[in-house]
Amino acid sequence: MALFQYIVGRFVSYFVVLFIGLTITFFLPRLMPSDPIEQYIFELQSQAGQTMSPDEMANLRETLSQIYGLDGSLVSQYLGYLERVILHFDFGPSFASFPAPVIGFIVRALPWTLGLLVTTTLIAWTIGNLIGLRAGYHHNSRAATVMEVVGVALYPIPYYIVALVLIMVFGYLLSIFPLTTTIRPGPLTFAKMRVILYNSVLPALSIIVVGLGWNILSMKALSFAHKEEGYVTFARLKGTPSRTIMNSYVGRNSLLPQITGLTLSLGAIFSGALLIEILFSYPGMGLLMRTAASSGDYNMLYGTILVTIFAVATATLVLDLIYPVFDPRIRYR
C-alpha cells in the first residue's frame, strides 16, 4: 500500500512538472517584448529586398498567426497549444527551415543526446561509486588518498574546460580524435557505428571525467560515514567478511543517497551535455538549441526546451520508480 502511494505520488509530481513546463513555454514567448511574426516579416523583407503591399502584409500576418497558433484569445491559444503539443507532439514549423516541422529535427537530434548522456552518466556513476566506495571503506590506504585527490581535482572543473582540454590534447596536439563531429547521413551500418563511436569518444570523456569526480567524492564521503554505523560494527563483530561488509552494508546504504543525488543532478548533467555538444558540434539537442537561439527560430527553441524538460522529468521519474528496489523501507511499511 505504501509502495502504491509512493508510485502514485511520483506520477502526480511528474505530470505537474510537465504541465508547469508546458505552461511556461507557452507564456514565455508571448511575454517577450519582440513579436516573432513582425520579426519574421522584417527579415523576409530585408532578405527579399522588396516591400509588400499592405494587403499582402495583412494576409501574411494572418496566415502566420494561424500557423504559429497566435490567433484568437489567449485562452483558446493556450488550449490549442496544449492539444497540439500533448496529442500530436506538434511544435509547429521551423522558422529557419520553413515549413519543415520542428518535431522532425528533434526526432533526429534526440537519439544522439540520449545515447551520449545515458551511457556517460551510467559509466561515470558506476565507476565513481565503485571507486568512491573503496576509497571510503579503506580510507586509510594510500590508494584511497590518491582517489580522493583525483576526485577533488576533477570535481570543480566545469564541463567546458574539460572539453577544451581534451580537444587541445587529443584533437589538436595528438590528433588521435577528431576536433569536431562529422558523421555522414545514411543507414546505420557496422562501419557507421564505428564512426559514431570514434566521434563520440571526446564528448563522452568530457562528461565522464566531470561526473566521475563528483561521484567519487560523494560516494567516498557517504561510505566513510556509513562505516561508523552500528550495523557495520555489529557485522564486523559477528565476523562477517570484510568484502560483504563493504558491499552489502556500507555500499548498499551509501547507494541510496547516490541514487537521489543522481536524480537531483539530472538537470545539471543535461545542461552540461548541451554545452559539450556545442563545443564538439555534436548533432544533438544542444546544438539544435543553439542554432535555434541564434537564428531566432522560436518554435524550434521552445520545442527543444519542452522536449528537454520532458526528458529530464521522465528520467527523474524512472529513477524515482527504481528507488524502492533499493530501499525496502519504501517497499514495505
Partner: protein
Amino acid sequence: MIRLNNIVATYTTTRGEVSAVDGVNLEIPTGKIIGIAGESGCGKSTLLKVIYGDLIYPLALKTGSVQYGFDSFGQEVTTSDIKEYWFKRISYIPQSSMSSLNPVIRINKQFTDHLDPSTDKAKVLEDVRAYVQKLDLPPEAIDAYPHQLSGGMRQRIMVAMGTFFNPDIILADEPTTALDVVVQKGILLLLMGLQEETKSTIFFVSHDMGVHYQITHKMLIMYAAKVVEFGDSDIIFTEPLHPYTRMLIESLPTIGDDHLRTGVSGRPPSLWEDLTGCRFAPRCPLATELCQTTEPEFKEYRRGHFAACHYAENTYQSSEIAILYDHHPQNQSPE
C-alpha cells in the same frame, strides 16, 4: 574458568594514552551470569571489548591476556585467536537493535552472512525459524526487514543471533536500556531462561542495580578502570566489602521506601590524573591516610569474594548495611 590475566587496555588519543582498564586480574567461573556495574566511564564496555578480542585502534591491549576456558586443537584459546570464534563460541548482544541491524537487507541474510561460505544456509535458516519460536517470535520474523519489526521483536532477534550458535560466552552491553520496562523484563527473562538451559557464561553490563540483583549470579564492580569487588551476587547485595559497592546498592530504590535515596555523590577521578592510592578515596567516607597513599590490593576476603579496600574486613559490619538490608527487595513482602 575464564582467566583475565593482568589486563591493561589503553586508548590512544591526541592527548596520549589513557588506560580504561588498568590491571584486572580475575578468574571467572563459567556457566554463570556475571553482572558488571559501575559509573559511566569506568571501563565496563572497554573490559567487554577486551574479552571479546575487539582490539582495534584506538583501543589496544598493553599487557595481559584472556584465557577463555575452552580448547581448540588441544590448545587453550586466548586473546590472540579469539576472533576466529566470534559468533561460534563467543558472541555479543549489542545495546541498540535499531542501529545494529542493516536497514536495507533482510534479517535472515544478516543472520547467516558471517558463516563459512560452504555452510548450507537454507538448512541453518530452517533451524533458526524453529529456534526463534522459542523466543516468542513468529518464524517469518527473520524474513522481514528490520523496520518491519517492533523494538522488542528486534531485540529478541539480537538475542536469537547471539545465542543461536550456542556460544560458550555471551557478552551483553546494556542490551535492554533502549527498551521500555515491560519489554525489557521480557528480554531479561528470556536471557535468563536461555542461560539456564545452555549453561553459557553471560557478561552482562547494566547501570541498573535492580536488574543486576534480579538476574546475575556474580557481580563485578568497576571503579575508575579497576575492578574493586567481585563475588556472588546475593552476598554482594547483602554484605558488600567495598564502600563503593555499598553506595551503588544504596542508590537502588525499593518499593515502599519513601526516604530519598542518596545515590553516589561526587564524581570519579579523571583517568588522566595522577592516580595514587585508592582511586575511590576522595569520595569514600571511610578513607584514611593509608587510602590516600597506598593502593589497596585486590584480594580474596572470603571464599570467592574479592575486593580492593584496605578496610574491607570491617566495613561489612557497619550499621548502614543493616539498614540497607532491611530495605532490600529480597526482604520485603513479594510485589
